[in-house]
């Protein structure tokens, strides 16, 4: 027969401070795990959602990022008339784009980071869902105007509407702020591709974005472009392109999360063991009495494990409460693939919370196992005599 849960709960309440100290130790471990994972998760979600399923991005053969790629104007004219490129009112859904970086100080600091400036074609925003102007107006292609993502304007100095920033010798005026539904473009400044080409003195584009009519066309199109020996270009789905970028930063963060929280879990596990050994020692007589009443060794064992699991769950709750305020908090770091700022949100998802709960429970289980085994092994006479 199992011991009633109420027995454990009462014991937990009687030793308030000890319970709290142990639960909080587990809670801090869970919180650190959740926070670092939420950071990695935020980067993943931003980059994974950035590619449109039917978009193809064309880069120079051998380049690893848009920044070190180039596609000539002649190439562009060949690309947009290929079979499989979707059209809208007879115009191909294709956009030449150019990337450059400008260094901007962060708000309240003298130093900052590189912000991506993207020269976009007339079709660019049609190729990206989620794009929305939230303030001001769109830039006019003939003028030296630009629109800035809201998040970048919030994080860096001098990028609000009306401010000017310089690319080479050209000054651009910010005329609008945009939002891109949490995608990577929310870390960018957009202006006219031809204007940027003349400002930077580079006649070639960084990449060309194409919309395929369907998934089959996407594969055929990518293969057609990559296999063409004359072009020296490579084409891949935009999704694959962004997924490849998440690699370094988020994998490293996940490694850090696992390393730190594993070590902290070992520490918390030892602390849990200490608390449970003390509980077992204090209740030796009680255990003897329970045995006399007919409770089996195994139910004593289960009872102590359950007691520690309750403490661990309390810890998980504390950990989640500590980490939850970070959810959707905006932050940014350097995208290690491009050395430019990528803004994203911490994301504490239900799946992550579940993993954290299992993690916390595992600490509680492993911490209580040995003390519980000791409790179950007491001889009745010895226990009563203690």
């Amino acid at each position: 027969m199992a011991l009633p849960l109420k027995y454990n709960l009462r014991n937990i309440v009687v030793r308030k401070s000890s319970t709290f100290a142990t639960a909080f130790t587990i809670g801090l471990t869970v919180a650190v795990f959740l926070m670092v994972m939420a950071l990695a998760h935020g980067i993943d979600l931003t980059l994974a959602s950035s590619g449109e399923p039917l978009n193809v991005i064309v880069l120079r053969e051998g380049s690893t990022a848009e920044l070190n790629s180039s596609v000539s104007r002649e190439n562009l004219n060949e690309l947009i008339y290929l079979d499989g490129v979707a059209r809208e009112a007879d115009k191909p859904l294709a956009a030449p784009e150019t990337i450059t970086l400008i260094y901007k100080p962060r708000k309240g600091m003298s130093q900052g980071s590189n912000v991506t400036v993207r020269g976009i074609g007339p079709m660019s925003h049609r190729l990206r869902s989620g794009f929305q102007l939230v303030n001001g107006r769109m830039f006019q292609p003939g003028l030296t105007e630009a629109i800035v993502s809201k998040r970048i304007a919030e994080r860096f100095q001098g990028l609000e509407i009306g401010d000017k920033f310089r690319v080479q010798t050209t000054d651009y005026t910010v005329v609008g702020l945009f939002d891109a539904g949490g995608k990577a473009f929310e870390s960018e400044i957009w202006l006219d591709v031809n204007s940027l080409a003349s400002a930077t003195n580079r006649p070639t584009f960084s990449s060309v974005l194409l919309r395929a009519v369907d998934a089959t066309a996407l594969n055929a199109l990518s293969k057609r472009i990559s296999d063409d020996q004359r072009l020296h270009l490579k084409a891949l789905s935009e999704q694959a392109f962004y997924e490849a970028q998440q690699g370094a930063a988020s994998t490293a963060l996940k490694g850090v999360a696992v390393f730190i929280s594993f070590i902290m879990a070992v520490g918390a596990g030892f602390a849990g063991m200490n608390t449970m050994y003390a509980a077992v020692a204090r209740r030796t007589k009680e255990i003897g009495t329970l045995r006399v009443l007919g409770f089996s060794r195994i139910s004593i064992l289960i009872s102590f494990v359950v007691e520690c699991l309750v403490i661990a769950m309390l810890g998980v709750a504390i950990g989640v409460l500590l980490a939850l305020p970070l959810n959707f908090v905006s932050t940014g770091t350097a995208n290690w693939a491009t050395f430019s700022e990528i803004a994203f949100n911490f994301r504490v998802t239900p799946a992550l919370v579940l993993v954290a709960a299992i993690f916390g429970a595992a600490i509680g289980f492993l911490g209580s196992l040995l003390p519980a085994i000791r409790a179950s092994r007491f001889k009745i006479v010895d226990a009563l005599r203690a």
Binding site: F24, G62, L101, Q111, M264, G267, A268, A271
Partner: protein, 379 residues
Amino acid sequence: MKFSKLILKNILRNKLRTLLTISSLVVSLFLIVTLATVLTEFSRGSEQSNPLRLITRHAVSLGFTIPVAHQQKIATVPGVRSVIPFSWFGGIYKDERNFFANFAVDADKLREVMPELKMSDAEWQAFINDRQGAIVGQKLVKLYGFTHGQRITLKSPIYDRSVEFIVRGVCTGGDEKTLFFHHEYINELVPEWAKDQVSTFSILANSAEDVPRIAQQVDSIFINTDAPTKTESERDFAISFETMMGSVKQFMYGIMAAITFSLLLVMANTMAMTVRERTREVGMLKALGFQRGTIASLFIGEALLVTTIGALVGIGGAMILFTSIDLSLYFPNFQMFLPTANTVLAALALSVLVGLISVAYSAYRVSGMTIADALRSTE
């Protein structure tokens, strides 16, 4: 001191508890020291920068290049002792995972501008004499087994070129995971748009007082050209890279604070259990005439001894581990991976503090009890 034997006996009374507490302290302090070492490495660039050096880059960002012709003009600025191209090539050795820095420089002036690079005169001469020559840091030798005379091919995605170099020397000092080669040589091989262009210049000033003025003067020369520059001290340049990481540092301090706090909880819990269990003993000691202060210091001494042992093992373990395995080999941008003296001292101070705070309340409470109350305790 005469009570030290008693303290020791008390600690050994519940060996399992002491062992578990110390183990918990050990892993936590190991983690704190490791994280602190990572933080040291994050800011090594700015902390160990040469106060005489400046870096010039394009005013807009490092994404733009500047003409190598700027070099002559920079050299004429008063106070400039030497200036060399210091151009990021981004070459990859065999596989993208083998990331290490490689720069195009003026071979004959590199030694003057970067005096921290140590190499024999013969090797310097061999490097200078061979246009295709390259020198590699000691750690690259450890990682990839580079030897004198070996041909290394680096593939640069920035310039879309694969270039072969011949190892002419192995240097120590500075970031030992760096490869240097002749700018002259690479300049003939890069595509048209990159010809006679560099990403940055490294300037050596005559004195530290000259540095701010040189920065201003250099930038004013080029302000109205196609390639305006931004010149800053090497320290500021390094800080700009550190700021790119965003709030990583604050985040790590947060984690370290969390670890410290859990350390405190673990220790306080142990001491609370220990003190509570000995309440009756305290009554006995009091009855025998021991003063409140003596009793409190017995407990404080116990807590301090436990935390100190934990700290010594944890910190010592980290020292031994990081001395025997050089983790910096496997992390790009880390020059070393060894806890600094400051880190060790801070970790020690932290554990003493944790020991004191953890026992303070329990010791205060129990030592203040009346003899009757203490003896009547049911613990």
